[in-house]
């Protein structure tokens, strides 16, 4: 099989100006005596570092990665808009790059004239455009507006026209950067249909997108780019999986860091909690509506929760799949022996709605004594919450509700789910159908 695109150890450095350079002007360049020296980079940033891969002719190739991982730089290099600092880019065939739709449209002149200009810019001859003109306009669904100035177009019309011209250039290689992300549902589907048609005709497609589903369904091969390096390459499902677990790990790190910062920044406040209604109560009084209090930590301090961890199956984590097991562990220290104490937890979603709350008193544990250090664990066997970010409150207080130590909204966890159901709680459920009701993918899928 022949290759459409081949990259050999491609590196692209961007220069980053030191502060001194940032304001470099002609005057200073003339005074320091060298125009050429100022045009040379003095500090560089590696956008793409030593990337090699080849794209076989007729395949759909996906590039995924975080924002700023060098995807667009790579596309620019392949499209020939920028040149690699070192390495080699080989392209066999005519490229059409959908990097920005309608680049070069002039707002003042009509759609018709812009189609011609854009077409010429993308490498078509006038005759070729005339031949394809009707098809382009039909594809863009702009028959009624083609003679109006482009500035009167809606952004959707603008995009459709840009896309229509670019795909009718009849390229051997189509480079697509994120255009699917900007259109409405109908337009996205139309784009995908057009790409499938391209593929059927044996053309090569290079796709950069955050739509991982598209990559999995549509691409034959994918690379995962991270900080300008290839982190994974091969079967799209596998690469997407690798990428997702890396994203999850980064998310976990971020949530953990945020929680740590929040907990460290909060000290035990021995006065009453701040509530939405700014009433002052006496020291140690139970707050009127604890759920409306803002983030913080307060209580008398006779007993304190010194550490809170949320465990999943494999130890401490902040990320759960809906239905996973979750264990909340609290390290507790009583500075004086106490006989009146209640442990409680509650879970809030981002809207501040209490999804669930319970404590030992409600569940009829009769407190006897607590002395010194101890640990309290709550095991939630199935965390049946819908996808979202949740906050956890933990507390130890008297039966009357006077807090010893109340952690309000200090701990975070995130629940993920492949099923995007709505609400708060996902009751365990199953669908059954009589045989006359059928689904294409079967009930098991």
């Amino acid at each position: 099989m022949s290759t459409a695109i081949e990259l050999h150890a491609v590196t692209k450095l961007y220069r980053r100006y030191a502060h001194r350079r940032q304001f470099a002007t002609l005057k200073s360049a003339l005074i320091s005596g060298s125009l050429v020296r100022d045009l040379r980079p003095d500090e560089t940033f590696t956008a793409v570092g030593g990337v090699s891969f080849s794209v076989p002719t007729g395949s759909a190739f996906g590039i995924i990665g975080r924002n700023g991982s060098g995807k667009s730089t790579l596309l620019n290099l392949i499209a020939g808009i920028t040149k690699p600092t070192s390495g080699e880019v080989q392209v066999n065939g005519r490229i059409s790059a959908l990097i920005e739709l309608g680049a070069g449209f002039h707002p003042e002149i009509s759609g018709r004239e812009n189609v011609f200009i854009n077409g010429v810019m993308l490498g078509l001859s006038k005759r070729e455009i005339t031949e394809r003109f009707d098809e382009i306009v039909r594809f863009a669904e702009l028959e009624a507006f083609i003679d109006a100035p482009v500035k009167t177009y809606s952004s959707g019309m603008y995009m459709r026209l840009g896309f229509a011209v670019a795909v009718h250039v009849d390229p051997d290689i189509l480079i697509v950067d994120e255009v699917l992300a900007v259109g409405d549902e109908g337009f996205s589907l139309k784009c995908l249909d057009k790409f499938s048609e391209f593929k059927r005709h044996g053309k090569t497609i290079l796709l950069v997108t955050h739509g991982l589903n598209t990559v999995q369904k549509f691409c034959d091969e994918a690379v995962w780019l991270d900080e300008g390096q290839i982190k994974g390459q091969g079967d799209p499902r596998r690469v997407v999986h690798m990428y997702l677990s890396d994203v999850a790990a980064a998310e976990e790190k971020l949530l953990a860091a945020e929680d740590k910062k929040r907990v460290e920044a909060t000290t035990l406040d021995k006065t009453t909690p701040r509530t939405g209604s700014d009433e002052s109560r006496g020291d140690g009084e139970p707050p009127e509506d604890m759920f409306r209090a803002s983030e913080g930590r307060w209580g008398s301090g006779d007993a304190t929760i010194t550490n809170v961890t949320i465990d999943g199956d494999d130890g401490p984590t902040h990320l759960f799949q809906s239905g996973d097991q979750m264990t909340v562990r609290m390290k507790v220290t009583a500075s004086v022996p106490l006989d009146d104490f209640v442990f409680g937890i509650s879970i809030f979603n981002t809207e501040g709605i209490c999804c669930y709350g319970t404590n030992t008193d409600i569940e009829d544990f009769k407190s006897e004594t607590i002395t010194g250090d101890g640990e309290v664990s709550v095991v939630i066997e199935h965390l049946d919450l819908v996808e979202g970010t949740y906050k956890l409150d933990v507390a130890v207080h008297t039966r009357e509700g006077r807090p010893y130590d109340y952690h309000r909204l200090l701990h975070t966890f995130r629940v993920k789910s492949d099923i995007k159901d709505i609400g708060i709680y996902r009751p365990r459920h199953a669908w059954t159908f009589t045989p006359n009701i059928r689904f294409r993918n079967g009930p098991g899928e």
Binding site: T25, L26, A29, L39, I81, I109, E113, F116, V120
Partner: protein, 264 residues
């Protein structure tokens, strides 16, 4: 270098389309539309004629009649030259979207800026023709044959400067502001509003170094003054220099080309 020139020839269709677009887009939405190409130079001419006939009548020194015609011979080419340079200096930055998103030779942008201004110059020529008819100037065909040559030399000179300026402006944005003032200075150092004979002996040297002075003198000798076209030696020298400048401009542009997509 040769490859660059060949590339330009290959993209002549795009250049043509873009120049047409510029000409079409410029006056879209205005009431007079395309007529501005004629009205603009007339208004400019009126302003200068009023200034130097009514406000500062003594400024001209020697009597040149008809002054409006004399002024027109220099003012039209100058308008092409100065707006061409200003627009091409700005062209890469204004067309940044294109340079970043579409693969095509960027030198097309300053070239289109110069060419579209050349067409505005051409559109104003009929007015100049009317003036010549109105004042019944005797014109010799041999002299008129030089006219396209002068235009060609001016084109090469403007293109060369335009290429250099556009490439440098990407890196030194200061040039855009500087250029406007430099051009004003240049305008007054060129015998457009005053005749060459008014220039003192010491200034003659500066005039000789001023490439645009030679162009203006050529235009004036061909269209305004009687007698044979005596400035052709200077014009030929300038032609050689302009072609050299154009090639230098292309080379410099090519040298800096890879930085454009990153800097605009």
């Amino acid at each position: 270098m040769l490859a660059n020139l060949r590339e330009l020839v290959r993209y002549r269709g795009l250049i043509q389309t873009l120049v047409t677009r510029e000409l079409k887009a410029r006056y879209r939405g205005s009431v007079l539309g395309f007529f501005w190409s004629f009205v603009n130079p007339l208004l400019l001419l009126t302003v200068y004629t009023i200034v130097f006939s009514v406000v500062l009548p003594g400024f001209r020194g020697v009597e040149i009649e008809p002054y409006a015609l004399f002024l027109f011979c220099g003012l039209l080419p100058w308008t092409w030259f100065s707006s061409g340079l200003l627009e091409s200096a700005n062209s890469l930055i204004a067309g940044g979207n294109l340079i970043k998103k579409v693969v095509f030779p960027a030198e097309i942008l300053p070239i289109v800026a110069v060419l579209s201004n050349m067409f505005h110059f051409f559109f104003a020529l009929p007015i100049l023709g009317c003036f010549l008819l109105f004042y019944m100037r005797p014109l010799s065909l041999i002299e008129l044959a030089w006219f396209p040559v002068v235009v060609l030399v001016q084109l090469m000179l403007t293109l060369g400067l335009g290429l250099v300026l556009s490439a440098l402006t990407v890196h030194f944005r200061d040039l855009r502001d500087l250029l406007g003032n430099l051009l004003t200075l240049w305008f007054f150092s060129t015998p457009i509003i005053y005749p060459m004979v008014m220039v003192p002996a010491g200034g003659k040297f500066i005039m000789d170094l001023n490439p645009f002075a030679h162009l203006v003198i050529s235009y004036q000798e061909i269209l305004f003054y009687d007698g044979p076209f005596g400035h052709w030696r200077w014009l030929m020298a300038l032609a050689v220099a302009s072609v050299a400048l154009f090639l230098i401009g292309l080379a410099l542009f090519d040298r800096l080309r890879d930085s454009f997509a990153e800097e605009v």
